[in-house]
């Protein structure tokens, strides 16, 4: 079958440094000066490019099949956005080629081409035509767009008078009604309030189910997991791996930290808050068999062990653990300052402190751990997202089924009973 997108040895180089810095422009004077000094530089044997090369993408090859939803993950600067820019033809590659079969609609931003002075109606047409819709197409979908955006009353108001929520809704509504064969989406879900994000996500799901090819870049791993079949992981401009979404995401988490096997060095952790003294040195996650783990099954216990080195003895060390979803929403927090019976007596400035999280009622997914370390009165060291772990699916209800992830991060036991006799009494 003909691939929807086929990327071959793609490379993109930017010149950084003097003269042609990335993101800056030259002035005529600089250019003239460079041209004038070129023979001199050649005499001195200097190489042609005075600036350094920066490869935003290097040697990237992959294929996307028609109808596939491909997620793209990677840290900032990994080359994701450059890839999308090349695929949507905004910029050209330095090497390699891409073959695209089908009309590409790219959504690197919502509201591109919106003008604050124009009314909602005018902006729908403007933005639609920028995104590649024909006027007839916009006419046909106009009512749908307006009702999706919920701005019926304000159609003839300039969008500069819109609330930011309305603005974003309208912008996304136009984009969401784009119907290309291939859709390229970059982080657009990172706008708007939670409700709207949910709506956008729903729309994305519809789009991906309608058999269109979708390329989806996001930092939101939960979105990627729920939308994508396959996933690419980029790092440093290279494609590290592509494969089934869950596998790649798991490997991504492994690589996104300094160590594997559930051990994380904390001395220089980037999640440390300002004002913290770096007392916590490491965190290790262990299962009940004392093995370091990155994964626990649903309903298994997890022990968080924090090694610390303090300048002087901390008499009553306190460890707070907050477990958050991959979206950053806290699920629960524990702290032995609040929970009586765990006043620990420590006589050494360096030791390890363990907190055992009883069998976790968490749904499958990735979770982050924030750590709060202190004494009986104050926090000394706080590290956000110090470590992460994955909860894998288990048949905890014995039915072979689990509630959908949209039902929340907690798997909670519950009981049901039928109360026919009560109903009869009430109606009697």
């Amino acid at each position: 079958m003909l691939s929807a997108i086929s990327v071959r040895n793609l490379g993109k180089r930017y010149r950084v440094g003097r003269g042609a810095a990335r993101g800056s422009y030259r002035t005529l004077r600089e250019s003239l000066a460079r041209a004038a000094s070129a023979p001199l530089r050649r005499l001195r044997g200097e190489t042609h490019g005075a600036g350094e090369d920066f490869w935003a993408l290097q040697d990237v090859s992959f294929d996307v099949q028609p109808g596939e939803v491909l997620g793209i993950i990677g840290r900032n600067g990994a080359g994701k956005s450059t890839l999308l820019k090349i695929l949507s033809r905004i910029t050209k590659p330095t090497f390699g080629e891409v073959e695209v079969n089908g009309r590409v609609g790219s959504l690197l931003e919502v509201g591109t081409g919106f003008h604050p002075e124009l009314t909602g109606r005018e902006n729908i047409y403007m933005n639609g035509s920028i995104l590649g819709m024909s006027r007839r197409e916009i006419d046909r979908r106009f009512d749908e767009i307006v009702s999706f955006a919920e701005v019926e009353q304000f159609l003839d108001t300039p969008v500069k008078r819109y609330s930011s929520g309305m603005y974003v809704r309208l912008a996304f509504a136009v984009a969401a009604h784009l119907e290309p064969e291939i859709l390229v989406v970059d982080e657009v879900l990172a706008v708007g309030d939670a409700d709207f994000q949910k709506k956008c996500l729903g729309r994305m799901r519809d789009v991906s189910r309608s058999g269109r090819t979708v390329l989806f870049v996001s930092h939101n791993i939960a979105c990627i997991e729920s939308l994508c079949d396959r996933c690419c992981h980029f790092a440093g401009g290279r494609l590290l791996r592509v494969g089934p979404c869950l596998d790649v995401v798991r490997k991504y988490y492994e690589s996104s930290q300094t160590a594997t096997d559930g051990f994380v060095e904390l001395s220089w952790h980037k999640g440390r808050t300002s004002g913290s003294s770096p007392v916590m040195r490491s965190v290790e996650l262990r299962d009940d068999l004392e093995r370091p783990v990155r994964q626990v099954c649903m309903g298994e216990a997890l022990t968080v062990r924090v090694g610390f080195v303090a300048p002087q003895t901390i008499r009553q060390p306190v460890l707070g653990v907050v477990v958050k979803t991959s979206l950053g929403a806290p699920v629960f927090g524990v702290n032995n300052r609040f929970i009586p019976g765990f006043e620990l007596d420590c006589s050494s400035p360096q030791a390890a402190l363990e907190c055992r999280l009883e069998p976790l009622p968490l749904m499958p997914g990735i979770y982050w751990i924030d750590l709060w370390f202190g004494d009986a009165h104050r926090d000394i060291d706080v590290v956000y997202e110090a470590a992460s772990f994955e909860v894998t699916a288990a048949d905890i209800f014995g039915s072979g089924k689990l509630p959908p992830s949209s039902a929340g991060p907690v798997a909670w036991p519950a009981t049901w009973r039928l109360c026919e006799s009560l109903v009869e009494k009430q109606h009697a």
């Binding site: 079958m1 003909l2 691939s3 086929s6 930017y14 042609a20 993101g23 422009y25 030259r26 002035t27 005529l28 004077r29 250019s31 040697d59 990237v60 090859s61 992959f62 294929d63 820019k85 695929l87 949507s88 033809r89 905004i90 910029t91 050209k92 590659p93 330095t94 090497f95 390699g96 080629e97 891409v98 073959e99 695209v100 079969n101 089908g102 009309r103 590409v104 790219s106 690197l108 931003e109 591109t112 081409g113 003008h115 002075e117 124009l118 005018e122 047409y125 403007m126 035509s129 920028i130 590649g132 024909s134 006027r135 300039p158 290279r238 494609l239 590290l240 791996r241 592509v242 494969g243």
Partner: protein
């Protein structure tokens, strides 16, 4: 390390015949499965203008121009009247200073009409190159976020200037009625001349737009250039070669019409004679707008068309269009990276 990457070699199914049009990387063709096929490749240097693609994006071009026009007059009290007012006010100013005080020769024509007929196409050209020159830099968000033929941006800016021109042309018609200048067959040439002005503006405008992206110096060069060019163009004064062609208009001597007496001599005003007209002439003739403005005035006000000048100007227009568009196409691939 792309070992895990599934590299399926593209098996080009034999029934999918896709034509390769030009080696510049955007290949459009429709296979039997009706999928447009695009190849994205590194830039190859000079490339032709993809007219077919521009045509496909004509609606976007229209919307961009429409947005420019719409936005320009939003929240203004007078709205599109500004399109008329700008050249009209300039006409008043020039009539006072050049017509009344400096007695610049206008070939026997009423100076306000003479200057307006010259200013009108000049304003079209000047606004078009100024706004086209800044258009690409001003559309940074569009360029870094979405693909479309980049030429659409300066083209749309020129289109918006054209709309202003058409509005202001109404003013010229009014002036002609007021001064009783009867329309002549020369008016038939006006659309061609307007097209030439537009093409000239497209050529210069795209060149400036492309240069402006790489060298922001042009932000300051453009207003200066426009001003300088205005004085190098016989829009507010008369090119002597052109002037001799104008005859006193045969006024309609009908009952209700006011007959204008022209006692003044038709020959060039001695005060405005220039020391070395030959050199200045050849310099003026290099300016493509000299021929265009002279032709426009002749066409509207009924003088003989300076065909040789017009021919030369047309050649220059085509050349500037080629240079502008080709240079633009050459550097447009880097716009998103350096803007």
């Amino acid at each position: 390390m792309s070992t895990e990457a599934t590299i399926d070699s593209v098996s080009d199914t034999p029934e999918c015949h896709t034509a390769v049009l030009g080696g510049e990387g955007q290949v459009e063709a429709v296979g039997p499965n009706m999928l447009a096929r695009t190849l994205i490749r590194p830039p190859t240097g000079w490339q032709l203008v993809n007219l077919r693609e521009l045509w496909r994006y004509r609606e976007l071009l229209f919307f961009l121009a429409w947005r420019d026009v719409k936005v320009r007059y939003k929240q203004t009290v007078l709205g599109a009247a500004w399109a008329v007012l700008q050249p009209a006010l300039m006409m008043v100013v020039f009539s006072i200073f050049f017509g009344r005080l400096a007695h610049v020769d206008s070939g026997g024509l009423p100076y306000p009409l003479f200057v307006f007929a010259g200013l009108l196409p000049w304003t079209l050209f000047a606004t078009a190159i100024a706004s086209a020159g800044n258009s690409v830099v001003g559309s940074e968000r569009l360029i870094t976020k979405i693909y479309f033929p980049r030429l659409a941006i300066p083209f749309a800016a020129v289109g918006a200037a054209l709309v202003d021109f058409l509005v202001a042309f109404g003013m010229l018609v009014v002036l002609m009625f007021w001064y009783r200048v009867p329309p002549t067959w020369g008016l038939m040439v006006v659309p061609v001349l307007v097209a030439l002005f537009t093409l000239a503006a497209l050529g210069v405008g795209t060149l400036l737009a492309a240069l402006n992206v790489a060298y922001r110096d042009f932000r300051y060069v453009i207003p200066f250039l426009v001003q300088l060019w205005m004085f190098a163009t016989p829009s507010i004064y008369m090119n002597t070669e052109e002037g001799s062609g104008f005859r006193v208009q045969e006024r309609v001597q009908g009952s209700g019409f006011r007959v204008q007496q022209s006692d003044e001599p038709l020959s060039t005003n001695p005060k405005s004679k220039i020391e070395n007209p030959k050199l200045l002439h050849s310099l003026l003739a290099l300016n493509p707008l000299t021929g265009l403005v002279a032709s426009f005035r002749a066409a509207v006000l009924g003088g003989p068309l300076p065909w040789s000048m017009l021919g030369w100007s047309s050649l220059e227009v085509v050349a500037s269009l080629l240079v502008g568009c080709l240079y633009f196409r050459r550097v447009e691939d880097s716009f998103a990276d350096i803007i």
